[in-house]
Assembly symmetry: C2
Homo-oligomer: 112 residues x 2
DNA sequence: TGACATACCTATCGTCGCAAGGCATAGGCC
DNA sequence: GGCCTATGCCTTGCGACGATAGGTATGTCA
């Protein structure tokens, strides 16, 4: 059983979405590519991951939406609410703490 | 919806189990506590996580087992096979790569 | 016309950590 | 003896979530 492509990615889409939307509002389709580009093509989360996540975060009050039609195509822009900012702060603190702890274990000398 | 306690932990039990067993063979019950101690009580994976994982890794040929009875209690000691070492190398490289990428995105300046 | 990018959405599946149990022996305490 | 805790193994069922694979519609360009 080879490790799946999603190993270690639990929670990462939400972390990145909140991080990127904190800089500027974006719409879903744009976010999918923004994540890919921001990660140097190392991370790709398809629309089937991003759209449900956006809906969920909106329901939770972490994101606010604004609808706009451009060139005959309708876009849904998402921006981070104060609650969303708090959520991101908590998530990123958690992420930093965990990765630091794991790094310590990985690098620990024998019998530590 | 508050983030669950398992956020960011996908694949981590396997990574840590292989890392700790690389130092010395251990049995399941011992591993559960070793992970907790090695992480300074920051990470706890209960037996319901560790035992199935050990069985899986053994089936995959990543771990070898040795049975021993001590003080009337039977223990199953696990050690890492060459295939398990390879697997760990791949996993930890993947982990380092991903965390580095994510850290970059998190710390990126606006409009990066 | 046909192909492709844009832009939204959903349903279903598989994996995996988690909670909650069960079973058995050893040892300490009252 | 009766009871609780620690030790040591195990399994079942649930829920969350990333992955896959679709579906719909408009604009652009060859």
């Amino acid at each position: 059983m080879a490790p799946s492509s999603s190993t270690f990615l639990n929670g990462v889409p939400e972390l990145l979405v909140l991080r990127l939307l904190r800089d500027r509002e974006m719409y879903g389709y744009e976010l999918v590519q923004a994540i890919r580009e921001a990660s140097g093509d190392q991370l790709t989360f398809a629309e089937g991951v991003i759209y449900p996540l956006l809906h969920q975060l909106e329901r939770d009050g972490a994101l606010a939406t604004r609808r706009q039609t451009i060139n005959g195509r309708s876009r849904v822009y998402y921006s981070v609410t104060p609650a969303g900012n708090q959520r991101f702060d908590g998530l990123s603190a958690h992420w930093r703490s965990l990765t630091a702890t794991i790094a310590t274990v990985l690098e620990a000398p024998r019998h530590a």
